[in-house]
């Protein structure tokens, strides 16, 4: 791993954002890095836009990631991927789920849900898109998107798989460990192909 790694995890309240950041944090800690994670609680739990910052490196000071500083953005929801896109570095990579949760402003017809794929391509961002709805059917649970995305991400950063599996076991409630490990494996084995621009 290079000197410092900044990862932004974005999504909607209730999607398992904070759990994923804890798992990732533990992976980096066990590999031997200094780690900081920052999360926002409160109003965000009620279906609002949620972001968590995970930072790892030899010494991490600020727990925040600023605009143009993220090496990776992991997005659990398409619209949220766009909302945080200014935080991506020029050479950063966006990994986003093909999952749509229309916000109330769209449901009530005040705003339109944007054509995310089109805008991502137009911006020239490096990205991987993960077909979450079909993968969730494969796992057989609607609640493990976060570990599928972890599986996808784990392929990109050259840390041994066992660190991830251990961190899942340590952070997920015992009764859900098995399904989460299955979800992780499915995510890890998705054929992503080359990074797209």
């Amino acid at each position: 791993m290079k000197e410092n790694l900044n990862i932004l995890i974005v999504g909607v309240g209730g999607q398992g954002n904070i759990l994923l950041s804890k798992i990732l944090g533990e992976v980096f800690l066990n590999v031997g890095y200094d780690v900081k994670i920052s999360e926002v609680h409160g109003m965000a739990q009620r279906g609002g836009s949620v972001v968590t910052y995970v930072k790892a490196g030899t010494k991490v000071f600020s727990p925040l990631i600023d605009k143009a500083e993220a090496d990776y953005i992991i997005a659990f929801e398409k619209l949220e991927a766009l909302r945080w896109i200014e935080y991506l570095k020029k050479e950063g990579i966006l990994i986003y789920s093909d999952y749509e949760i229309p916000p109330m402003s769209v449901i009530t017809g005040v705003y339109k849900y944007p054509d995310v794929d089109k805008i991502v391509k137009k911006l020239g961002v490096k990205f991987y898109k993960v077909d979450i709805p079909s993968l969730l059917t494969k796992v057989g649970s609607p609640r493990v998107q976060n570990t599928i995305m972890l599986g996808v991400f784990s392929r990109l950063i050259g840390i041994e798989e066992s660190y991830f599996r251990k961190a899942i076991e340590n952070n997920v409630k015992p009764e859900f460990v098995e399904i989460n490990l299955k979800a992780f494996a499915i995510g890890r084995n998705v054929d992503l192909g080359e990074v797209k621009i």
């Binding site: 909607v12 950041s21 804890k22 944090g25 533990e26 800690l29 200094d34 780690v35 900081k36 994670i37 920052s38 999360e39 926002v40 609680h41 409160g42 109003m43 965000a44 739990q45 009620r46 279906g47 609002g48 836009s49 991490v60 000071f61 600020s62 727990p63 925040l64 600023d66 605009k67 143009a68 500083e69 619209l79 949220e80 766009l82 909302r83 896109i85 200014e86 935080y87 991506l88 570095k89 020029k90 949760i101 229309p102 916000p103 109330m104 402003s105 769209v106 449901i107 009530t108 017809g109 005040v110 705003y111 339109k112 849900y113 944007p114 805008i119 911006l123 020239g124 961002v125 609607p142």
Partner: protein, 577 residues
């Protein structure tokens, strides 16, 4: 063992290691997890108190008895607890007393952005400010030592980014502390004659603490390699270090009282010293009052919101970061909404349908009733205010205004009860809706006196809100079910016009609470019967969205059935088409 810990979790760990005996709090973001994590240590007695004033009084009792005690709250909670705070500053403690107060720069989940350091100074109480989770553990222990040595309560000031960030912590073992109880009315009974003497002691104590501040390792100078110099504390220290790793930094762990000689000496070495602190110019004003002329603070750093390394850099260098990927269009905002199945939705739908009423609101999940699509709330000031304000409006309008106050069960117990007593006593005409979802929803399902459970989930006496309101003297007290929408429109419309203080307890447990099980019977929309009138969308339920016609997302539906009850064409039912 090295572990990643949330700042709040680390405060709890510090309390465990420091031998704390009693911990008490009222939940409030971003402070809530301190007490939740403490409840996992069986060595510490731990409770949810009805409000912060009571919580602090409990902790004071424990400290005077000779044990270490902690009381935790968010910044606005300190306003509620201010009354005992200002006087415990006079009595001092015996066993250590720590008050952990979490400020919320950026107002992620708060109604204002006040700076706790100002209250601490007014109360003449020392303040420690940790900058990461390890310091949370260390400063808790140090805080108790200072509290006992100088016979003072100590405030541990946290901010959202310290409370809700995880960083690495090294765990240690617990010590047991007991100073024993000694009766001392000169010290603990604050009648004027005794209090006058104590005030002298408080002033002397502040001077002693200033001396302590000069030599404690809580305040340290980090030598740099450039000419840039900073004075900073807490999370702002991390931002400075990341923005300028080569700068000189006077890092203050104790932000009140300040070490005057250390500060003057540091500032004399540089042409210019930047003072970096979120919110108020607290350090800056105190430092400038020492006669220091080369300090730069709020002239270039903002007074509102959170800081970041980029913000500090751009303020000093007057540059702007251009993100490589910029959006040209405005994205649909995603504001928080009431959850699918939430019982509050029913009552706000009803209130939005009744004309010409003034609705005073309060603090909790139900504050979201103020937002679209309901727009059914006129005010929100602080915990408990909805009741008193409704009474005030009733009086100001010569009882002509139709006033409805809404308040949650937890908030009602926190500080709505006294307002209700006032309204009855002074012959108000108002309707109070206690939205009783049997938990403290917004902060994550904490118990309170009306749920019948303690913080550790043990059963306890359950405060009966119906009997309570009757005893207080309300003219009408009834329980209603928020899911009966059509019935409630009639009932509330009629009740508003009756004289006196009327209370409806709108009772249905939070749909997301593990304790309450539901028989799930999800709803579907029959496309053949749907006339696309979109009335169901006006419920603002996240599970219902418009495809060609309104459609219910089965992953989100929590089977409350409210959409079925308002559909005029019988298109919604629990039968799949």
């Amino acid at each position: 063992m090295r572990r990643l810990m949330l700042g709040n979790q680390a405060v709890a760990r510090g309390c465990y290691e420091a031998g704390v005996k009693v911990a008490t709090a009222y939940p409030g973001t971003p402070s809530t997890e301190i007490t939740e994590f403490i409840s996992q240590y069986s060595e510490i007695y731990c409770e949810w108190a009805p409000n912060e004033k009571v919580a602090l009084e409990v902790a004071i009792g424990a400290a005077i008895y000779g044990k270490r005690a902690i009381c935790s709250m968010k910044h606005v909670g300190l306003n509620v607890a201010a009354d005992p705070l200002f006087t415990v500053s006079y009595t001092g403690v015996n066993g250590g007393l720590l008050i952990a107060v979490a400020d919320d720069p950026g107002m992620h989940s708060s109604q204002n952005e006040q700076d706790t350091r100002n209250i601490a100074k007014a109360a003449k109480v020392p303040v420690l400010e940790p900058a990461d989770s390890q310091e949370c553990v260390d400063f808790v222990k140090k805080g108790f030592e200072i509290s006992e040595k100088y016979d003072t309560p100590v405030i541990l000031r946290l901010t959202t980014r310290v409370s809700h960030s995880q960083s690495v912590v090294e765990e240690d073992s617990r010590v047991e502390i007991d100073y024993g109880y000694k009766k001392d009315i000169q010290k603990y009974v604050m009648m004027p004659a005794m209090a006058r003497k104590r005030h002298e002691i408080v002033e002397k104590r502040l001077n002693d603490l200033k001396e302590f501040a000069e030599k404690t390792e809580l305040n340290r100078i980090e030598e740099g390699e450039s000419n840039l110099a900073f004075i900073t504390a807490g999370i702002a220290y991390q931002y400075v270090k990341e923005a300028y790793p080569d700068a000189w930094v006077l890092k203050l762990g104790m932000v009140y009282p300040l070490p005057e000689r250390l500060v003057k000496d540091f500032c004399s070495k540089f042409e210019k010293v930047y003072i970096v602190e979120e919110l108020d110019p607290f350090l800056e004003e105190n430092i400038k009052a020492m006669g220091i002329r080369n300090a730069v603070g709020k002239e270039i750093f903002k007074m509102t919101g959170e800081y970041s390394p980029t913000f500090i850099k751009s303020a000093i260098e007057k540059t702007q970061v251009e993100p490589p990927y910029k959006l040209n269009e405005e994205l649909a905002p995603r504001l928080p909404v009431l959850c699918p199945g939430c019982p509050h939705r029913g009552i706000f739908y009803v209130l939005s349908k009744i004309k010409d009423i003034i609705i005073t609101g309060d603090i909790g999940c139900y504050t979201l009733g103020a937002l679209s699509p309901f727009n059914a709330m006129d005010t929100c000031i602080c915990m408990g205010a909805s009741v008193g304000m409704a009474h005030g409006i009733s009086k100001a309008s010569d009882k002509k205004a139709k006033v409805v106050a809404v308040i949650g069960d937890s908030t009602f117990v926190h500080s709505g009860i006294t307002g209700l007593i006032d309204a009855v006593y002074n012959k108000s005409d108002m309707l109070l809706l206690i939205l009783d979802n049997s938990t403290t929803g917004m902060t994550g399902h904490q118990d309170h006196p009306a749920t019948g459970y303690t913080i550790r989930g043990e059963e306890t006496f359950k405060l009966d809100l119906v009997s309570l309101c009757k005893t207080i003297g309300c003219s009408v007290v009834e329980e209603i079910n928020p899911y009966n929408i059509n019935e409630n429109i009639k009932k509330i419309s009629t009740l508003i016009d009756k004289p006196g203080v009327k209370v409806l307890i709108v009772k249905a447990p939070c749909r997301l609470h593990r304790r309450y099980k539901y028989v799930l019977s999800k709803r579907y929309i029959d496309k053949n019967k749907c006339k696309n009138c979109k009335l169901c969308l006006s419920l603002g339920c996240p599970a219902i969205s418009l495809k060609e016609v309104p459609t219910i997302d089965q992953n989100l539906c929590l089977a409350c059935g409210m959409c079925e009850s308002i559909c005029r064409f019988g298109a919604i039912s629990s039968v799949k088409e």
